[in-house]
Symmetry: C2
């Protein structure tokens, strides 16, 4: 007979207690594979619980793979050593691997890893309690859809709300021009599907968002880097490259640009749109860091009215990276094409998550919460600039907001060696080479300001740069 | 002064009452754009509520776009007529539009539309109460991740559980070989990215899953249809097509095949794997309808041990299409490549949704629930076969389970005219042409058995086929 003591008064459901106890005995090898569990009736009598309780506990153990049911014979401890699988060759090489590698490393970093170059805020900065509150509200709302597929363009109330939000940025758009997406990343993938064919020349920011570079390479694009200045893309260089390469599209980030944190100036914006018109290319404007900008700034979509510009944004940086809610807004013809691509590549996006974002945006606290985030980022940015100054890193600019400080390591051509040493100490730094379209060497380093006050980072940079200088 | 009466005793929070009342007056044009709302202090005094309550209500109205705040001046009714956007050309044509069109129509069908050909179960058949229960449990669990990005391969506990589930199907796999995806559709998209380049010949089932055809066309594949028999693909024809077209990959559904409902026979499975080895192509086996099969059946992945076979499945048909949780299992090298593609095209999948699926699978009721679903589908299938017999539609087979009956309209070459007439009456039928790789004419029709007892469908088919015969 199993040595299990149950406490009906403990508050823990009896089923949970039985499952926990038997699982423990299996894991401790007290109960070995093949051993027969007590019959349901017998277990119920021995422990003075109902048979129903035992049936449910055994069922759960079966579902969890700890126990097997043999029809007519009873329940047996399963052999949990997984069947061996056959040997396989080493991972194949891929042109897109570098960007994916860094993303995977950052996403995979355990609690102990320091994501000093991550592209997003630490979980503790987010309003998870607000998310829980809205999830509870959604659960109370019997009408909310948890089971059925969502509509092709996404949850209608959120699509109806976004035009008001975008109007504040000067972007005029109707709900019918908006497609909700699985984060900004799916929106970018859809835009690449729409605009890019294998071998096409595509303009990108240099430096720019490495995950976009990986995505474009995956689709076979030839990347043409447009040098980035503190006022946005170098317009003269853009003109020259457009004339030479005849691109169909330019992917850019005009606000709190990743990795430099710089914003497009109004005069520059006008020149870029003129260039796009002259050379007949589209612009995909990725405004992922939108809500982290504290003031008024220029967006191409606001000037162009979604004629040549496709506008992408996301709630991953302010509300939740986990929910995976972003959107794309475009002219009706491109919206139609992007919706088809969305349906073919992902069928639909989860309305439950979109409903959550809608509730977070409209229940009234979002503005205040984002204001607090911006203030906190402002302080963290100042702290990180002081750190850079102290250890001898030279910043590209002092950004107006957002998550990044782009800093140059003095006296070296490439930051890779430093990043490799950091990785050995569990500190994930993103070296500049990753942000260059052809992976050219770069002495720059992207820092996430949320980690600018971390003593491990300060100690590492102090020692590493001191040893080098 | 606003004519608003508040009921502090009603149970509805005062903030909600104020928001509701003011919004109503704005929508009814009692309050017109530009009108100034009462100052916060004044409103609070007039209605005997706290200023905090008024601030929160006004904030919410601002967030919802009904009201604008002018610094230092107060709150004004916003001009809610959206800014006009500029005129645009008509939607562009796309080779992939037909499949996307049907999916969009099915996903967009309102409550009144009859999705008589849908590829999934009606929402009312799903265990939404179970989903709510698990969501509540997840909310109580403080450790559950709502804010942060998920890991690249997906939520670990679910990946650790799936091998036990797959072992019951005879498929040997380690958690490290599993990548969780945004439904089976993202898994298919990742596989297409991995295997297919523009212009490549790709083998598909004929008839087969139209949304896959659209996805493959989007990636520029040349589709080669392998005729499908009641025992699975025609092996002799497969041999001939493989020799002629030298494909790199064959996408197939071996269990409860969409649209025919047929299953692969063991002897046929062996011949197909031999053919794949001889002509050196991979097989992507889409087992989306897996859990709806009531008995034991053959899967290529079980025979091949994920050597040449990439295995895809999903929980969209049994648990929720809204959660968007599926997975792909492959050999380590392909798993590595698919993970990179996943990160580049979508960054990560939502762990919260994956946690929900994990809880649904392991809390012990899943088996019983699925058993009930299967029984219900069995009855619905019998009913739909009787309907077919009554109206004169000839079924391809009487399937062993699942969602589909594939029926032939006698005396016509193409089912499109019938489907078009049905659509006029709000009945969505999927004509056979959609399921053919080149959109060839087809007298077949896919029926979803859940709607086989609907009187509107019976009446329509009875009249339409009678008029024709």
């Amino acid at each position: 007979m199993l040595q299990i003591s149950l406490s009906p008064e403990s508050g823990v459901p009896l089923v949970d207690q039985i499952v926990h106890a038997i699982r423990g005995q299996i894991e401790d090898r007290v109960l070995r594979p093949g051993a027969r569990l007590a019959a349901i009736r017998q277990f119920a009598e021995n422990h003075e619980v109902s048979r129903f309780t035992v049936v449910e506990a055994y069922d759960r153990l079966v579902a969890q793979g700890y126990v097997q049911s043999r029809r007519g014979s009873g329940f047996y401890v399963a052999n949990r050593s997984l069947p061996a699988s056959n040997p396989h060759p080493a991972p194949i090489a891929s042109a897109a691997v570098d960007a994916a590698w860094l993303m995977r490393q950052a996403l995979d970093a355990g609690a102990e890893g320091l994501r000093a170059s991550a592209g997003w805020l630490p979980r503790s900065w987010l309003d998870e309690e607000g998310l829980r509150r809205q999830l509870r509200a959604m659960l109370r709302d019997e009408g909310s859809n948890l089971g059925d597929y969502g509509r092709p363009q996404g949850y209608l109330p959120l699509r109806q709300h976004l035009p008001f939000k975008l109007a504040e940025l000067g972007i005029a758009v109707q709900p019918a021009q908006i497609v909700l997406t699985h984060g900004a990343t799916q929106a970018l993938d859809m835009a690449v599907h729409h605009f890019v064919r294998r071998g096409d020349a595509v303009l990108v920011d240099d430096p720019g968002y490495f995950s976009l570079f990986g995505l474009l390479r995956l689709h076979g694009a030839r990347l043409i880097g447009v040098p980035w200045t503190p006022e946005g893309p170098d317009a003269a260089e853009l003109e020259r490259l457009a004339a030479e390469h005849k691109p169909k599209v330019y992917f850019t980030q005009s606000v709190l640009h990743n990795p430099t944190g710089a914003c497009l100036s109004p005069a520059n914006a006008y020149r870029i749109l003129q260039c796009a018109a002259r050379h007949d290319f589209h612009i995909v404007e990725d405004d992922t860091y939108c809500d982290l900008h504290p003031g008024i700034t220029t967006r191409l979509a606001a000037l162009d009215h979604l004629d040549r510009v496709v506008y992408i944004s996301s709630f991953s940086k302010t509300l939740s990276g986990n929910l995976r809610v972003g959107f794309v807004a475009a002219c009706p013809a491109i919206t139609e094409a992007l919706t088809n691509i969305k349906v073919l590549t992902s069928l639909a996006t989860p309305e439950a998550a979109e409903d959550m974002v809608y509730r977070m945006l409209t229940e009234g606290h979002y503005r205040k919460y984002v204001e607090r985030l911006r203030n906190r980022l402002g302080e963290a940015s100042a702290r990180t600039l002081r750190l850079a100054d102290k250890v001898g890193l030279a910043p590209f600019i002092a950004p107006q907001g957002g998550v990044f400080i782009w800093t140059r390591i003095p006296g070296v051509d490439d930051a890779v060696a430093l990043a490799a040493r950091a990785a050995q100490q569990g500190i994930i730094l993103a070296p500049g080479t990753l942000f260059r379209p052809q992976g050219q060497a770069s002495p720059w380093l992207r820092l996430n300001v949320a980690y600018g006050g971390d003593v491990r980072l300060e100690r590492f940079l102090g020692e590493a740069l001191d040893a080098q200088g």
